[in-house]
């Protein structure tokens, strides 16, 4: 039994060294050389300043920008998480109802019961960078009018930024809101 304890302690430290130090450092080293941009967080720089990450959603409230999904984390990149509201939650039903009204009011042509569910529900991470193509198209008229562009011009940008299923099979078609909004800012420059 004493022997088992001595071996245990040695084994604990050897495995700790191999899997807790060597392995993560090897991955860090190779990643930094082979995939530096991804390893650092897929950050987007504009004019020398970091304006966000392709992968992390951002809050937008101006009419000039496309809006992301609601976030239970207020898009705080240090406090990810969902609302955890259950399917029979009065608060959830109330929140969704309020958001639907806001979307309908802000977007010309939108009507109640035709607002895609992803645009009025909070994501699992609170940082979802995407909306569905339907949710993006719903906002085209608003953004176009706020920017003095034609609906066709804005719709063109949405379509340009719509990603299909990966490898034709995986996931869902989606629009990256931050990338689309950057493209809007740069449109016509």
């Amino acid at each position: 039994m004493k022997r088992a304890f001595i071996v245990s302690i040695r084994m604990a430290f050897v495995t700790l060294l191999v899997t807790g130090v060597v392995y993560p450092l090897v991955v860090t080293g190779i990643a930094a050389v082979a995939f530096p941009r991804q390893a650092a967080g897929s950050l987007i720089e504009r004019d020398g300043k970091i304006v966000g990450s392709t992968l992390i959603g951002q809050a937008f409230s101006s009419d000039r920008y496309f809006h992301p999904r609601p976030s239970a984390a207020d898009y705080d990149g240090t406090a990810s998480g969902p609302s955890n509201l259950g399917p029979t939650s009065k608060r959830l039903a109330g929140d969704v109802s309020t958001r639907v009204d806001e979307v309908v009011e802000a977007n010309p042509g939108a009507s109640k019961s035709a607002v895609p569910v992803d645009l009025v529900t909070a994501s699992a991470s609170g940082l979802d960078p995407h909306v569905s193509p339907a949710s993006a198209k719903l906002q085209v008229a608003r953004v176009a009018s706020a920017r003095g562009l034609t609906a066709e011009q804005v719709l063109g940008l949405v379509e340009e930024h719509t990603e299909g299923r990966q490898l034709g099979l995986l996931g869902e078609p989606r629009v990256n809101v931050l990338e689309l909004n950057i493209a809007l800012d740069e449109f016509g420059k």
Partner: protein
Amino acid sequence: MPVNDVAYFIVYFVLLVAAAVPLGIYMKRVFEGERTFAHPVLEPVERVVYRVTGVDPEGDMSWTGYAAALLAFTMACFVVLFALLRLQGFLPLNAGGVPGMTTALAFNTAVSFVTNTNWQAYAGEASASYLTQMLGLTWQNFVSAAVGISVAVAFARGLTRSVCRGIGNFWVDLVRSLLYVLIPISLVLALVLVSQGVIQNVSPFTSVTTLEGASQTIAQGPVASQEAIKELGTNGGGFFNANSAHPYENPSPLTNFLETFAILVIPAGLTMMFGKMAGNMRQGWVLLAAMFVLFAVGLTAIYGLERAGNPNLARAGADISAAADRPGGNMEGKEVRFGQAGTALFENATTAASCGAVTASHDSMTPLAGGMTMLNIALGEVIFGGVGAGLYGMLIFAILSVFIAGLMVGRTPEYLGKKIGPTDMKLAMLAILALEAGILVIAGISAVTPSAVASVLNAGPHGLTEILYAATSAVGNNGSAFGGLSANTTFYNVALGIGMLIGRYLFIVPVLGIAGSMACKKVAPPTSGTFPTDGPLFTGLLIGVIVIVGALTFFPVYALGPIVEQFMMNAGTLF
């Protein structure tokens, strides 16, 4: 069902089986000490590890010796991890400036990671330093998985051996699990994940000025190295609070597919290893078939229910229908990029195997879909199950099944030609009862303790389900949660910590006991009266036993939780 979603599921299973067969054969060779293609590189490393730690790799242990070594090692790991969690505030590599964990939280977290549960009463980005994540948590992600594989291998040896000389050497099984299986696959997977956008750095948090001029801080960290083993070792503890829903843990549909694949590949491979060790691959296929059938039922339920969505959201004015340009269904607590199919497959896999990583909020799933994820755990974590834990759990049910079949025809039950005696049956029942009683007793106590009930977020039947899910997840060593429950209280940290210990060691020790008892039994050649355990009849019986045991135990409380809530949701009752 849309063609694309069906194709997604089919491709997943075809690739899973295609990988399980060679992986199982490879693992059999590794654990039987035969040479493989990896030996020229890894054998010298293996020998160095034995020399440094003072392990004698020759010679098998009795089951008691095996269990003693396992428990002593676990204790050592617990002490080191507990100390690290308490002291992290004083240690380097702490970009978030997090303080040490409280005693109760550190106890809960250390037990959680040592038992391969990875229940998290804390949020990773706010409560664990980079050093803790790498040194403490990544380490235990590997080691607890290796312990699980070791027990499964020892159990398989006990059942298939025809000579009475112990059940293997714990240290050798542990080291080989790490060196030949877990580390190489994790290394490759981690790098593929980085290429897709999973982060891997020890940089400070990033400060961002958003397009609208607001500031946003983005947490960073060595994520990919932990992400890979988190799924591969069916651990499930997220680097971030949002776990695999976080875009830095799971950035694309491809990473989602790979992570889902990694959850089941070793559990599936172990059934093939068992078949190979039994000298009859059909013995492995019947187990895999039973797992597959139960898995398909769960997947169909979760996918169908979540895709149908929550009628309360439709009543509130949302369009929950799916189309080519929108996922539809229940999107509360889900990510657009994964959609309903990718999410349903992940959630079913993570609960069927005792992983516990999540890409969605289980708390926000429709009642029966959330209930299905809980039932997957409650059935004993045998539907593929945890790495190792799934195989030895399934074999316990196989023993129970041949016993029941033996009672029906009035013959002494046999499995793989070995007679099952009263001791074996008592130990098997002890393991099953410890699991089920543990869940119900802890949930029961919580439901009548005012401070425990105060942790509940959602009112109505959903609140009971939150409590029941926590107990199920802890004792089942799963680790996923109905996240609305505020679990970082002294009561839950202690109660669920005890639950995790019960679910792990009151299962493992009886399993090793049966292994020791069976190893010394003579193999009798099959006769015309032998009940064959390598055909579809046995698969059917096995499924029946698992479902009946689970249903009888849990139906009453499920009726008060998810089942009644489903009716209330459809009727529009809100709480």
